[in-house]
């Protein structure tokens, strides 16, 4: 339903999106996972017709976003990263405006307004000016305004940033239920856990490029089921590199004087062996973390850096 091909978007000399391609299907949640500045919002901006791509194409239900922008926009629901609402209007009035912008009116608008207000749990406070709302409530309304017209394609740009845990659960449930009713959802986030919990398939982006892409299963397999061992302390880097080199099935992902990250098959069982080897170099190990293979380890493996920095 969304078809992105070789998308390029530059801001002056900064290439924010650098040849991104992916497809997102109806009834599923496609994730764009990447750190801040990876180009997620810029990609969403191009798909929603807000930004003009320098190269590449975007199609929404077959409509080119540049050539047939009105047709494409009619199918889209957009929930921007920033809360883009009228603070002095009530929730109902906000929904009426955004619904109206998508061509809803009269009884249809009224029915949908009631539905989405109930859906996001704001029905009982719908008449208040939203400047009295908490951040979480605004987030939920921000979401509601994007789905009032029952779009076939929903673009969500980090819809859970800065919300309380309860609103977060609420929003994630809403996203799932949207996909279940056949909507094609594009979901961007820098929370690896969210992507893992939510997405059917995923593109991991960094520096404007897709560095890994596939279904959640395919991506998990790419981590090769290796555990990730992270050590903090004081290390003699050349000495340790040499020591670890002698051990089998170990890959140094990243090594500094104060931190080492190692990928190892069955890391739990091999912990004594690895720690022993490092200890022999006279290292001062203060903290040890062992994590199961996940998207984070894949990201670290691919980029040599952590997702959240």
């Amino acid at each position: 339903m969304i078809e992105v091909r070789d998308l390029v978007k530059k801001y002056g000399s900064v290439v924010a999106v650098d040849g991104v391609s992916f497809d997102a299907a109806a009834g599923s949640i496609f994730g764009l996972l990447g750190p801040n500045g990876a180009g997620k919002s810029t990609t969403i901006g191009c798909i929603s017709g807000l930004l003009r791509p320098h190269a590449g194409t975007v199609r929404v239900l077959g409509h080119d976003i540049v050539g047939a922008s009105t047709k494409a926009k009619k199918e889209l629901g957009v929930v921007p990263q920033e809360i883009a609402l009228y603070e002095d209007l009530s929730a109902r009035e906000n929904i009426a405006y955004w619904g109206g912008a998508y061509g809803l009116s009269g009884p249809d608008l009224k029915r949908r307004t009631d539905e989405v207000l109930a859906l996001v749990g704001l029905a009982d406070r719908a008449k208040e000016p939203i400047k009295k709302y908490s951040g979480g409530m605004k987030r939920r309304l921000n979401f509601a305004c994007g789905i009032v017209h029952e779009p076939k394609v929903l673009l969500l740009d980090e819809p859970t940033v800065g919300v309380d845990p309860q609103s977060r659960v609420n929003i994630l449930d809403l996203v799932r239920s949207q996909a279940q009713t056949g909507t094609c959802v594009l979901y961007t986030t820098h929370y690896m856990e969210e992507a893992e919990a939510l997405c059917d398939s995923l593109a991991i982006v960094d520096g404007g490029k897709v560095i890994a892409q596939g279904t959640m299963r395919e991506l998990r397999q790419r981590t090769e089921e290796r555990d990730l061992l992270r050590l903090n302390g004081q290390f003699d880097v050349p000495h340790i590199e040499k020591k670890l080199h002698d051990l089998d099935h170990i890959e140094i992902i990243q090594i500094h004087e104060t931190q080492i990250t190692i990928a190892a098959g069955q890391g739990g069982n091999r912990l004594p062996e690895i720690l022993g080897a490092i200890g022999e170099t006279g290292a001062d190990i203060r903290e040890t973390t062992l994590s199961q293979p996940n998207l984070e380890s894949l990201f670290i493996k691919l980029t040599g850096k952590e997702l959240r920095e």
Binding site: I83, D88, G100
Partner: protein, 405 residues
């Protein structure tokens, strides 16, 4: 077109969500302006001067004495006389560069001495009210005085009790009248007739309220338009403008809705003013429909002017500083704090070139009944053209660059 209505409703709701701040944003400058006007028009401020152009074709002793009377004590503070040729003087009065033009025909002196009927012609600037009135009243008294002069064997005016410094022409009038009232019985029938011609149509019903109030009203519009224009930055910073661009709703309708909503707000302010003026200053009801139309056009144009400045500014701070910096001087020179009638004619003629000053002159003309629909039509068409141009520029700027694509 439906989205235009949606956008209009949204902005109307927002404007009226906080009526107090809307009223304050308009009310405070208007109150300050009213106070300033009162001070300027009151007895403490510098007295305004009327410029009286004179062509003396008589050049006699009597005409000399007659004109010298204008240079006496209090009159000298109120009226400044410039001698010049008839043609040039007429041109200046018609252009509004002087308050009035007095023509003293040949044989005036002889006629006074011979006690023969005589006619003086005074032309006044139709766009000014108070200063020509000062000249007219003074001249009326002087004409009577000249007659008295003749009766009292041309005693110099300075012998009359004209000392002291009354600031107000009405006061001078009454004082002079007190002086002459003793001689009134002799003044009948008057021999010198003063014919007062106005350059264009005579002005009906121009009271103090109708001189100051229209200026204050245009100022209120100016402030409300500035206030409304800053909203486009709120839309930008909040992300509602960019979010709107992701919907199928068209930008042109979005801006149209905004302009309409702001125009309606300005119009409501204007109508409230006019209603007030009608109650207290007896405006002619027949002129009001045209006045309202003119206010709507003026309001839309002023709003768009500020909107354009806002959207070509690089940030909201810049936009607000520039528009705010414009509002006060424009209100000041554009005849809102000190009416054109009380300005030096040079400054007034500059002030009348400002958009709000220009609109104010027309607005006063409409209220006074001197400008009807046919007279206003060309100006209205011009404003519509300006509105269309400003609108296109705003739209162009907002779609390219302002939202940062």
């Amino acid at each position: 077109m439906r989205f235009l209505w949606v956008s209009f409703l949204k902005d109307m709701r927002r404007a009226f969500r906080d009526p107090i701040s809307l009223l304050l944003s308009v009310g405070i400058p208007v109150v300050i302006g009213s106070l300033l006007s009162l001070v300027a028009g009151g007895s403490n401020g510098p007295a305004p001067k009327a410029e009286l152009l004179v062509t003396d074709q008589d050049n006699s002793f009597v005409s000399g004495v007659f004109l010298a009377a204008f240079n006496q004590g209090p009159l000298a503070d109120l009226i400044e006389i410039s001698m010049m040729e008839e043609e040039r003087a007429l041109r200046m009065v018609n252009k509004g560069d002087a308050s009035a033009f007095l023509m003293i025909p040949e044989g005036f002196g002889q006629a006074v001495l011979d006690d023969l009927p005589m006619e003086l012609v005074l032309r006044t600037d139709p766009s000014q009210t108070i200063l020509p009135a000062i000249v007219t009243e003074t001249l009326g008294v002087l004409v009577d005085g000249t007659f008295l002069l003749q009766r009292t064997l041309l005693n110099p005016m300075s012998d009359l009790d004209l000392e002291g410094e009354p600031q107000d022409f009405a006061l001078i009038g009454t004082r002079l009248e007190q002086v002459f009232s003793g001689a009134m019985p002799y003044l009948n029938p008057p021999i010198i007739e003063l014919e007062i011609l106005e350059s264009k149509e005579p002005q009906k019903n121009m009271s103090f309220g109708t001189v100051f109030l229209p200026g204050l009203l245009i100022m209120a519009l100016l402030f409300a338009a500035q206030n409304g224009s800053s909203d486009v930055w709120k839309e930008h910073e909040k992300g509602t403008l960019t979010r709107t661009l992701t919907t199928p709703g068209r930008l042109i309708q979005f801006i149209c809705g905004k302009v309409l909503a702001n125009t309606v707000v300005l119009l409501l302010i204007g109508v409230a003013f006019l209603f007030f003026a009608m109650l207290f200053f007896g405006l002619e009801v027949a002129n009001l429909p045209l006045a309202v139309v003119w206010l709507a056009l003026t309001g839309a144009a002023l709003y768009l002017l500020f909107l354009l400045i806002q959207v070509i500014s690089s940030n909201s701070k810049g936009g607000n500083i520039i528009t705010n910096a414009l509002v006060f001087p424009f209100a000041m020179i554009g005849g809102s704090f000190f009416p054109f009638e009380l300005m030096r004619s040079g400054i007034a003629s500059v002030g009348k070139q400002t958009p709000n000053g220009w609109a104010l002159v027309k607005f006063k003309g409409i209220l006074s009944g001197s400008m009807g629909p046919e007279t206003i039509l060309p100006a209205a068409v011009l404003v519509l053209v300006v509105i269309a141009i400003l609108f296109s520029l705003c739209q162009l700027r907002i779609s390219r660059g302002f939202v940062g694509r």
